[in-house]
């Protein structure tokens, strides 16, 4: 029963007007959320002259993709002027292995922590869970030292390692909660038939794991793509991921400030996660909720 029905049932005033007000408010809020994206997009299609002459709410009079081309291929970041292209690929090279490894490990961990429990499994899980929430500032200096000792400072491999480790808690949490509801009887009868640890995982759990795999991959992809702190701490120059390059581009103070190029770069940085969101928003949401509401 909705409040609308309640309103009608209780005869609380002209329901029609309250509907108009509700819809009006909802649309005002929708505009609040959409405006920055609109401004980013519209600025990115303007020329600098038009930006100076007009205002941010106006649509581009003569839309041009010049700023996009420059952001992608020739904008100056640091000492090189090759656009954000290279950094975009850095991010891809970092995200793909990090997401895959952390998801596989998380699935196995979740499987062990629900179906092969051992004394102390709760403490192990509790410790992995808390690891999700630490402020990364508290591991930043040791991590920098260790990456240096391993010869992985300022490398994509180093960032993959970092993201796998600090993503493990979440991936384990997702799979643990998912497998927790999976009937244990099925596994026991498979064990009776002589199926081993990996056979049970592959033949019984994995086939029904598609939803949680999608949730985990999307969650990890979004988090790692959007990371800034690790990127800025453990990489520099040409090895930086996209977010760090974007910040360097936008905050550089040399030459003419090209707002249209900044905005195009920002949209490019946002595109991968936005596309994932548009295509699989439901799963993105489930990941966020699972990451927020524990247990």
């Amino acid at each position: 029963m909705s409040a609308q029905e309640m309103a009608i049932a209780t005869g609380a005033g002209p329901a029609r007007w309250s509907r108009v007000v509700i819809y009006g408010l909802l649309i005002v809020f929708a505009l609040f959320y959409l405006t920055p994206l609109f401004v980013m997009l519209s600025t990115s299609f303007k020329t600098l002259d038009e930006i100076r002459a007009g205002n941010i709410i106006q649509l581009p009079a003569h839309p041009t993709a010049d700023a996009w081309g420059k952001a992608w291929g020739s904008a100056c970041i640091g000492v090189t002027c090759e656009g954000i292209r290279g950094y975009f690929w850095n991010s891809i090279k970092m995200v793909v292995p990090a997401v895959l490894i952390s998801t596989v490990l998380g699935a196995l961990n979740g499987y062990v922590l629900t179906k092969w429990r051992f004394p102390g499994h709760k403490i192990v899980f509790g410790m992995m869970l808390f690891a999700c929430f630490i402020p990364f500032q508290s591991v930043l200096i040791p991590m920098a030292r260790v990456l240096g000792a391993l010869g992985l400072s300022n490398s994509t491999a180093g960032l993959v390692l970092v993201h796998v480790i600090y993503g493990l808690g979440f991936t384990t949490l997702f799979f643990r909660n998912y497998y927790d509801t999976f009937p244990t009887e099925l596994i026991q009868s498979a064990q009776m038939d002589g199926a081993g640890f990996f056979t049970i995982f592959r033949r019984i759990l994995l086939p029904s794991s598609a939803p949680i795999i999608v949730v985990t991959v999307i969650y990890q992809f979004t988090n790692i793509w959007n990371d800034f702190l690790f990127g800025v701490s453990f990489s520099s120059g040409d090895n930086s991921p996209m977010t760090v390059a974007l910040n360097n581009l936008v905050s550089s103070s040399t030459g003419v400030k090209e707002y249209n190029v900044d905005m195009a770069a920002a949209v490019i940085a946002a595109l991968p996660t936005l596309i994932v969101y548009v295509v699989a928003g439901r799963y993105f949401m489930r990941g966020l909720m699972a990451g927020a509401i524990k247990g």
Binding site: Q137, V139, L140, I141, F228
Partner: protein, 299 residues
């Protein structure tokens, strides 16, 4: 003999296999999370400046930390930013969730619009809002040129006394839709029979929400506060992208303080001490919460 031992070895391996599979992950967490925290704690009690130096200095760095006016600026800013962020996100989130729960036909269109900022990087959010809040060319300029209201002012981002509020605005923009979704999930879980009974008793819609629905959303409130507080303490990227901690140090937060003292000001011990204080703040919020959630689950 070997024939009888082999299955025994195989059996034992089978017994240990689950633990062996979990072991690498757990070892990584032990070393890279808990070991590193201990390491940072050690650094915070050392004389480290540019590089780690393992000379005992006791709580000297903590003393220096709490004698830094800059640290108090960071704490004060976190208090301002954190409280506005949490309260506004919850207010907007709850309000939108209740509105959306009124059988809105275009809910399927609106919900993703409210939520998409959460998919963006804080750096993108910061970049977008920095442009939008630019006094000369952004929103202020647009209002002036469209309405002709020449004295309209919205230059918070350049004002040391107001810049922290722009961080809050951008943060609220990003996270309030998410809080809306948390409350909406809570609202959808409420037993409608109870509401019907209240309606029959003649309670008004407003009373039903105030007296029945909102109290029933307590778990969602708790989750929202925890998640938002946790995000507020960890906020770093947004500040860097939006204001860079400035103007001056007007938007310094503990996270930016830690970074600059450790990596640019060569005060590693003080930086480590600030990181430990942040960790304690997070632990004070998260440990009781996680503990109660885990306990509840096992009941």
């Amino acid at each position: 003999m070997s024939a009888s031992r082999l299955p025994a070895v195989g059996k034992r391996l089978q017994d240990w296999l689950p633990r062996l599979v979990l072991a690498p992950s757990f070892a990584l967490i032990l070393v890279f999370v808990y070991g590193f925290i201990v390491w940072t704690a050690v650094l915070s009690m050392s004389k480290s400046r540019l590089l780690p130096v393992y000379q005992w200095a006791g709580f000297d760095a903590y003393e220096r930390l709490f004698n830094q006016p800059n640290w108090y600026v960071a704490l004060k800013n976190l208090a301002i930013f954190g409280s506005i962020y949490i309260v506004a996100c919850i207010a907007i989130g709850l309000f939108l969730a209740i509105l959306l729960d009124q059988k809105i036909r275009i809910e399927g269109v609106l919900r993703p619009i409210y939520l998409y900022p959460m998919a963006l990087s804080f750096v993108v959010t910061g970049t977008a809002w920095k442009w939008f809040l630019n006094p000369g060319m952004g929103f202020e300029h647009a209002v002036r040129s469209i309405t002709g209201w020449e004295n309209f002012q919205f230059d918070w981002i350049t004002r040391p006394d107001m810049a922290i509020y722009t961080i809050a605005i951008a943060g609220i923009w990003q996270a309030s839709g998410f809080v809306m979704a948390m409350f909406l999930a809570g609202l959808r879980g409420i037993d409608s029979e109870m509401l019907k009974a209240a309606t029959v008793d003649g309670a008004s819609t407003f009373t039903i929400y105030r007296r029945i629905v909102i109290p029933l959303l307590r778990p969602a409130f708790l989750s929202a506060v925890i998640v938002l507080a946790h995000m507020a303490i960890k906020s770093y990227d947004l500040v860097i992208a939006l204001t860079g901690g400035g103007p001056g140090n007007a938007t310094e937060l503990p996270s930016t303080f830690m970074y600059s003292y450790t990596f640019t000001r060569s005060q590693m011990a003080v930086g480590s001490a600030s990181a430990m204080v942040m960790l304690m703040g997070i632990a004070a919020i998260m440990v009781p919460y996680l503990y109660s959630e885990l306990k509840e689950k096992n009941r």
